[in-house]
């Protein structure tokens, strides 16, 4: 073997060793960055929580910001932003499977956008789906640009406070002008329901049914909460679909699950903009008021 070939082999090996080192460094770095995300922090808080969990709040941002476990008592808010019913089901199944924490009541959202196809995620290209899975298994940092960019730009995930999983919502929707409020609600509704999105994705109805059945099997009471939203949001949502027809579809699903309790607060604060941080998310004050209402209604149920 000539000296040149030996140098080449040594160089190639050194490059590969460097690449392997980079790989492990990136795995560690992305893990550390991911740990700062709301989802990871919520999971960590849940795991570390030693108290009694009589009430477990699950679902999406409406729940994560809207129900304060400190007010409810013996509670943990395990909702995460943008979580569809499919993820909630898998999460609850995993919690019950571990047998470490079994709540008596699980709170779930039943909102206008809960079945929207905006939650469905992008349709996977069949030809490249396998490649994508392989890459993400072999290289945990593959395709993680959103988390990395969010971290380095000091985005929402990094800055948000988390208390027993609850995300206190800062902001006062009433501080905006009427025109600004109207535009914000219009944009928000469009984001949820503008075509090609459809308001009712059957996949999510199926998962809601599965969650309720899972609760029944484990002797847990499922409480479906129609979370408060502003009247503006409802008005602009109705521009995209018939809310009446939507409610009929939801009733049809729930008629198969009479065990589920429904608490309807959708119009409870429709003009109380001071309780909202935006057109459809409560702020801390709003969460406190809603949670007190829920606590009172739960006592009535019991």
């Amino acid at each position: 073997m000539t000296v040149k070939i030996k140098h080449r082999i040594a160089g190639a090996l050194a490059f590969i060793i460097g690449a392997i080192a980079m790989h492990f460094f990136l795995c560690y770095a992305v893990d550390a960055i991911q740990a700062t995300t709301l989802k990871a922090r919520s999971k960590a808080q849940f795991r570390q929580y030693k108290g009694n969990i009589k009430h477990l709040v699950m679902g999406d941002s409406h729940m994560a910001r809207g129900i304060d476990p400190r007010v409810l008592g013996d509670s943990f808010n395990y909702a995460t932003l943008g979580e569809p019913y499919s993820d909630t089901y898998n999460k609850l199944k995993s919690i019950l499977g571990s047998k470490s924490k079994k709540p008596e009541i699980v709170f779930l959202p039943l909102d206008l956008h809960s079945f929207s196809s905006m939650r469905a995620g992008r349709k996977k290209n069949k030809k490249t789906a396998g490649f994508e899975k392989f890459l993400k298994d072999a290289f945990p940092y593959a395709g993680k640009e959103e988390i990395v960019l969010e971290y380095f730009s000091g985005g929402r995930d990094v800055k948000s406070e988390l208390v027993l999983g609850f995300i206190p919502g800062e902001g006062d929707f009433s501080a905006l002008t009427p025109e600004e409020r109207d535009k914000a609600a219009k944009d928000r509704a469009a984001g949820h329901f503008k075509p090609p999105k459809v308001p009712f994705e059957p996949e999510f109805a199926e998962y809601l049914g599965k969650i309720i059945e899972l609760c029944a099997k484990n002797d847990i009471k499922p409480v479906l909460v129609k979370m408060p939203v502003t009247g503006l949001y409802i008005e602009h949502s109705s521009e995209w679909f018939s809310i009446e027809d939507y409610e009929k579809d939801v009733d049809k699903i729930l008629s198969a699950h009479p065990r589920a309790v429904i608490l309807d607060y959708r119009n409870a604060f429709s003009e109380r903009y001071d309780l909202f941080k935006d057109s459809d998310h409560l702020n801390t004050k709003g969460a406190e008021e809603l949670t007190l209402m829920i606590k009172k209604d739960l006592q009535g149920l019991n």
Binding site: G18, A19, M22, L26, T128, F131, F139, G143, V148, S153
Partner: protein, 481 residues
């Protein structure tokens, strides 16, 4: 099989190993088997079409060479071209022309009864049919002797790196390369792998990222904001460039690993100073094909002006049609033809105006200005290329040119602020590479730099592609042609 797949990651090293382990005279065999396996992994029946095109053109060229009279030669040429191009016409254009005939018959009041067929468009057909057609014509013109070895000819047609989306290499260039002995060369292999890596970066980090923004605007243009559509149009110009040139880089790099030098397909096209200059830089293998087999036989530029302009329009209408069986593609081609015609007509006026304004003394400004204008003309034409229909295209144009409001939402589209800035940084990086490549290809520019410069760059591109790549989104745009 596509490049961004696990199958290709396994397939490629095996093929390269087999290629170099096989004795030189038999290397065409593993290449041929690998190429057919590569193609038939999409759909086994495609292999029949590929073999069909190969055999038709091989036979017609062989018979042409043996023919004693010019009349016989022409007959074999015609047979070879008609049968070969007939495959393309049937699979790609039957429904298009059938629908056009139906529409025309409807307008004329006739009852047109021929139904559309459910035909699957074989991927890459436009590319290999043009390869084989160029071979037949070159043999007829005496530019090359017909290849006597069917296996080697079949490798030329089916050569897997370039099978699905080019470059459209000439037989006179690639067939001798197939016969050549390619030794195992470390530097060449590394250059090939680096080029493949850069191609993956362009495709996965830039093209597929920009596609998210472009698709959100162009899929429903009536609902999109004017500013979003304007930005999406510019982004599409970069998306299609990175997608297609990324593919070409991967193809050229893969071929280089095995010792083959494929035709360069892109040469900084958005730095072109005129539309005709653009076409000498964009998809060069295709524009070269149209130049040699359509434009020059029509008389090229050695004809009267009227005929010259007609030649421009014919070439670009055909080019548009080659890109897709839809009237928007034909119109896109017509726009480019019109650009050339108008450019030629106004050439004198523009030069005099330029000199009159004194700008001819500032060659740097002239270069930038002309490139800027050309880029915008090309981007405008891309609107028709990308839009799903004329209605959509005119909706896009209407919204862009009828005035729009500048809001954060309209600017960012479906992205967050950091995502938008990242996309701009990725485009800036691309253009930095282009600027540096004025002094030579990046691979060569880097090769004499010290290790502490080269290796961090390679790691940055490799891991940058993994972290920032948008995976699982799309195949290459030019596969649809």
């Amino acid at each position: 099989m596509i490049f961004n797949s696990i199958e290709f990651l396994i397939f490629f090293p095996i093929v390269v190993a087999l290629y170099f382990l096989t004795p030189h005279r038999l290397r065409w065999m593993p290449l041929l088997m690998a190429s057919y396996y590569f193609y038939m992994s999409w759909e086994p029946l495609y292999g029949l079409l590929l073999a069909g095109s190969t055999i038709i053109t091989f036979l017609s060229s062989t018979l042409m060479a043996r023919a004693k009279s010019l009349k016989s030669k022409r007959a074999f040429l015609a047979a070879g071209l008609i049968l070969n191009l007939g495959l393309l016409a049937f699979f790609k254009y039957f429904n298009f022309f059938n629908d056009a005939l139906r529409a025309a018959s409807g307008l004329a009041g006739f009852d047109y009864k021929v139904d559309s067929l459910k035909i699957l468009l074989p991927v890459g057909i436009s590319f290999y049919i043009f390869k084989t057609a160029s071979y037949v014509i070159d043999v007829y013109k005496g530019r090359m002797e017909p290849e006597r070895h069917l296996g080697i000819y079949a490798v030329y047609v089916s050569f897997f790196p370039a099978l699905l989306a080019g470059p459209i290499d000439r037989a006179s260039h690639l067939i001798p390369a197939i016969r050549e002995k390619h030794p195992l060369d470390y530097d060449r292999i590394m250059d090939g792998l680096k080029l493949m890596l850069w191609g993956f970066f362009k495709k996965l980090v830039i093209a597929d990222r920009l596609a998210v923004y472009v698709n959100s605007a162009y899929n429903f243009p009536a609902d999109a904001e004017g500013l979003t559509l304007l930005i999406a149009s510019y982004f599409y110009a970069f998306e299609i460039y990175c997608d297609f040139s990324g593919y070409s880089d991967i193809a050229i790099g893969a071929a280089k690993v095995m010792g083959f030098r494929l035709t360069e397909n892109f040469r900084r096209p958005y730095y072109a100073r005129s539309v005709s200059d653009f076409w000498s830089r964009w998809h060069m293998s295709l524009s070269g094909w149209f130049r040699d087999y359509v434009y020059i036989p029509l008389g090229g530029n050695r004809v009267a002006k009227g005929r010259l302009y007609l030649n421009f329009m014919i070439v670009f209408l055909l080019s548009g049609l080659w890109h897709g069986a839809a009237w928007t593609f034909v119109f896109w081609g017509a726009i480019h033809g019109a650009y050339l015609v108008i450019g030629d007509i106004t050439s004198g006026i523009r030069t005099r105006a330029w000199q009159g304004l004194g700008f001819h003394k500032h060659s740097g400004f002239e270069r930038v200005w002309k490139a800027f204008i050309t880029f915008n003309l090309v981007t405008f034409a891309w609107i028709f290329f990308r839009a799903s229909s004329f209605n959509d295209a005119f909706a896009v144009i209407g919204k862009i040119f009828s005035g729009f409001s500048v809001t954060k939402k309209a600017l960012l589209g479906p992205w967050s602020g950091p995502e938008f800035i990242f996309a701009l940084c990725a485009i800036a990086l691309l253009e930095l590479v282009h600027i540096l490549e004025r002094h030579g290809k990046m691979g060569h520019l880097l090769s004499d730099k010290p290790l502490w410069i080269r290796w961090p760059l390679y790691y940055a591109i490799l891991f940058g592609t993994l972290i920032f790549g948008v995976f699982g989104e799309s195949e290459f745009i030019y596969f649809q042609f």
